[in-house]
């Protein structure tokens, strides 16, 4: 920009300062007083804008300034400010259009330059900060490098020291070992030396002992003695025995027996232990097999060697299990088989567990697995089953509840009476039955009363008739007697007989008297017996009793008929106190005489029931 120098206008000095304000920052103009002044100035724009703008071009130097501007612009490539001159002499006219265009162009350029300047400035700032940062990093890294170098040197130093120490210690150890070896050698040599010495000394000692022994033996024969008051018996009560070969052999036998017993005992213990351990191992094997068998499907899908052996093992095992008895032997092959099989199973189990572990870890990552599927299926199946069960149970409960409700309803519909009746239904039945029986009984009682009355009347009649008959008989007998006594005294026996007979007839009378009264009374089912007894008693009075017989038979018949009825009636009656008492057994009474027994029984039995009371 040397053009500034050519246009030296004193008036421009102050104004051009302002112009240069805009451009001085980016353009490093050569050193000139003028420019320095301009740079140093710090005049604010607003005050001197007009002065600034007017400083360049004033009223006087318009043409100069225009030509100057035109020169500048054309050198910058702008079109000329002047219009195209027609001639050389005439004054060139200012082309305002060109001026405006140039101004516009200049403004645009000015803007561009400002933008570029801003960009450049920001970039400069950035670069400056980057530079600072890099410089600081560089400084830090340098420091770090320094420190690490120092550390490394320190560590190397330490390492070296430790290695030295190590070497020293190794050396010491070697020395110690050598020393130990040396000492051991010394000890060994000393030991042999001492042993020799000791043996020598011992031999001397033995010699001395021998001599002393001999001397002592010679001396003490008289003095050594044992005084015992009386002998103590032997432990096993036997006498002392001589030492013979037999006893020696016996001792040997005993010794061997003891040893053998001990060995056998120990062997038994060990066998027992072995058997137990084998059992445990076999159990373990079975359990391992059972653990592994549900996973049979998987090994079939996969083609692993380990699982292949697993299948083969499982197939083998049923065959092996059948030979379980062989396990009890303790031979080498069996033992090996057992241990090998257990080892195989254990390996399979281990690999299985490892697989499971891997899968579990995968699950955490992936979230889905074959294992899960299987377990979920099982889970679902189980839940379905449980739900079915629950439903069934619920239905059952419902039905039961319904039934209970029905029952309750039934219970609540009845009245109180009926409920009480229902509750006491059984009692009522019994009560009714009792009532029936009571009525029956009362009827029977009435009947019996009637019969009794009739029988008593009959008896009275009979008695009266009998009296009359007896009177007749007596008169007849008298007549007979009067007739008879004219013949013999020999017939006094007959008299006695007659008296006896009469006595008996009297008895019979009494009995016959009593009989009709007794007849109306009931007899138990033993009535045929009674009748037979009656018939037995009846022949006692053949002549006079015929009448009685017929009468009694008649009465018997009637009584029998009555009697036969009543037992039948009494049979269904099992309730009621009196009915029970009416049962008799005639045979239970002791029978003394034929004639009297039945009557006695009659009387005794009748006294049970009879209210009238017989004599």
């Amino acid at each position: 920009m040397g053009d500034w120098m050519t246009v030296t206008d004193p008036g421009l000095s102050s104004e051009s300062k302002n112009i240069s304000q805009y451009t001085s920052e980016t353009k490093m103009s050569p050193s000139s007083l003028y420019l320095q002044k301009v740079l140093c100035s710090s005049i604010p724009l607003s005050k001197n804008v007009h002065s600034f703008f007017s400083a360049f071009c004033t009223e006087e130097n318009i043409e100069q300034s225009i030509s100057y501007l035109d020169q500048e612009l054309t050198t910058f490539g702008f079109p000329s400010l002047y219009e195209e001159s027609k001639g050389k002499e005439t004054k060139r006219e200012l082309n305002i259009v060109a001026v405006l265009n140039c101004m516009n162009e200049l403004l645009i350029r000015q803007r561009k330059n400002l933008l570029a300047q801003e960009n450049v400035e920001t970039q400069n700032l950035k670069l400056g900060s980057d530079m600072d940062h890099l410089q600081s990093c560089y400084a830090k890294l340098k420091e770090q490098l320094e420190t690490s170098r120092r550390e490394m040197i320190g560590l190397q130093e330490r390492d070296r020291q430790l290695q030295c120490k190590n070497r020293n210690l190794h050396q010491l150890l070697k020395n110690e070992k050598d020393e130990v070896q040396k000492l051991q050698n010394i000890i060994a040599s000393r030991a042999t030396q001492y042993n020799h010495d000791m043996k020598r000394k011992e031999r001397e000692y033995n010699k001395l002992k021998e001599r002393l022994h001999q001397l002592v033996m010679n001396k003490k024969d008289k003095r050594i003695a044992m005084e015992v008051l009386n002998y103590v018996g032997r432990a096993d009560g036997k006498r002392g025995s001589w030492r013979t070969d037999k006893s020696e052999a016996r001792n040997e036998d005993e010794m061997y027996k003891i040893l053998l017993n001990d060995y056998e005992y120990r062997q038994k213990q060990i066998l027992m232990e072995n058997a137990e351990l084998k059992k445990v191992l076999q159990q373990m094997k079975k359990e391992m097999i059972s653990l592994l068998s549900p996973q049979k499907q998987k090994p079939i899908e996969k083609a692993d060697d380990s699982t292949g052996t697993g299948i083969s093992d499982v197939e083998e095992d049923p065959g092996e299990l059948s030979r379980e008895s062989i396990w009890d032997l303790s031979c080498e092959t069996v033992r090996e088989q057992l241990t090998n099989s257990i080892r195989k199973q254990w390996r399979i189990l281990k690999s299985h567990v490892e697989k499971l572990d891997n899968q579990v870890s995968k699950v955490h990552l992936e979230g889905f697995n074959d294992e899960d599927v299987i377990s979920r299926q099982d889970h679902e199946e189980e839940t379905e089953k449980l739900e079915l069960e629950i439903q069934q149970c619920k239905e059952m409960i419902k039905t039961q509840q319904q039934l209970l409700q029905v029952n309750q309803q039934l219970a609540t519909t009845c009245d109180d009476d009926t409920t009480s009746l229902l509750q006491d239904c059984y009692l009522l039945e019994e009560k009714e039955r009792l009532k029936e029986e009571w009525s029956l009984f009362k009827e029977q009682k009435k009947n019996f009363e009637k019969e009794r009355r009739s029988f008593t009347e009959a008896a009275i009649r009979l008695g009266l008739e009998r009296k009359a008959f007896e009177e007749e008989r007596a008169s007849w007998l008298k007549q007979q007697f009067l007739n008879m006594t004219t013949f013999d005294h020999q017939n006094s026996e007959n008299v006695r007989l007659f008296s006896a007979f009469s006595g008996s007839s009297d008895r019979d009378n009494l009995t016959v008297h009593s009989r009709p009264r007794q007849k109306p009374y009931r007899v138990s089912n033993g009535s045929p017996i009674c009748t037979s007894k009656l018939t037995k008693s009846l022949p006692a009075s053949p002549s006079t009793s015929d009448f009685c017989q017929t009468r009694s038979c008649v009465s018997e018949h009637s009584s029998i008929s009555v009697l036969n009825m009543t037992p039948e009636e009494t049979r269904p009656n099992q309730v009621g106190g009196e009915c029970a008492n009416q049962k008799w057994s005639v045979a239970s009474r002791p029978a003394s005489q034929d004639g009297c027994c039945s009557e006695c029984s009659w009387t005794s039995t009748n006294s049970h029931v009879e209210k009238d009371g017989l004599p």
Binding site: N206, K219, M226, Y231, G240, R243, I258, L259, I270
Partner: protein, 387 residues
Amino acid sequence: MYKRGLVQVWSLEQPEWHCRIDEGSAGLVASCWSPDGRHILNTTEFHLRITVWSLCTKSVSYIKYPKACQQGISFSRDGRYLALAERRDCKDYVSIFVCSDWQLLRHFDTDTQDLAGIEWAPNGCVLAVWDTCLEYKVLLYSLDGRQLAAYCAYEWSLGVKSVAWSPSSQFLAVGSYDGKVRILNHVTWKMLTEFAHPAAISDPRVVVYKEAEKSPRGALGRPACPSFRAAESKYEIAAVPVSLQTLKPAADRANPKIGVGLLAFSPDSYFLATRNDNVPNAVWVWDMQKLRLFVVLEQLGPVRSFQWDPQRPRLAICSGGSKVYLWSPAGCVSVQVPGEGDFQVLSLCWHVTGASLALLSKDHFCLCFLETEDEADGAIGQLGAHT
């Protein structure tokens, strides 16, 4: 009476019966009964010979060349056999005699440098033989003299100090100078496990009982009870971890106080009681079912001896004081021995039935009776004493 060479025998049932054996100039070093109680074995001076005196036949037998060692005679539990260690021409032999007629059954040599002890297994079929403490070697021989097994835990160090069989003959406990007990099993004669005796116990499952004085102190700080009567003591349970008192053994003296010196199995083989000599105040009780440490009892003084009750798992301990200590799985108790003066319990011995205990001091002995109120208690009800 060793000095006079006399042995006097009395009968417990017949007080008039009396027997006197005079060894005369042969001298007497040791004397013991035979298991049938009818013979007395006397060991003469310098272990010249063993004389077997028979009380029933008044006959005498001699056994030559017995070995002078820690435990040279062992009777089998059923009393049938006697095993005797002998040494001829610098070689060790073992002779087995039949006790009924003192016939020699077997005579075999052992593979030991210097046999230190022999012991029958309770089942009477195996004999354990161990070597001198300079060499760790345990040999097992069968009744008929065959060697069944040999066991050596380590070399170049002091070896076996004590050996004990379990009553069931299943275990052989070998205590050695390195402070460990090794348990061998009777089937393979190999080591089952080893029990170490560290001075610091840190296992929380172990119960540690510490004996503590419970003497009430007077205002002036002197014990309230008179000085001639020893103070009462009781057991306290110490919380784990516990460190026990140790003793540093003098390394340049013979018979150093290190290693497991005392071993005893309980009669049911459930427990093993041990004493490690460099922790002299403590008794260690091991559970044989679980094969680990069960209980540690720490006394105030060094433990002198302990013995299990022959009938039940009850351990009686004495430590040279005037108390006897009893431990059972139910608990432990310390009992003062009543008596005038200071009764120093130096050793103890149970009766076969386990109902009484003999406490021995230098020239007195005390008999304890144990009355249990109920079986489940397991502790002493009352104590009776006679001197």
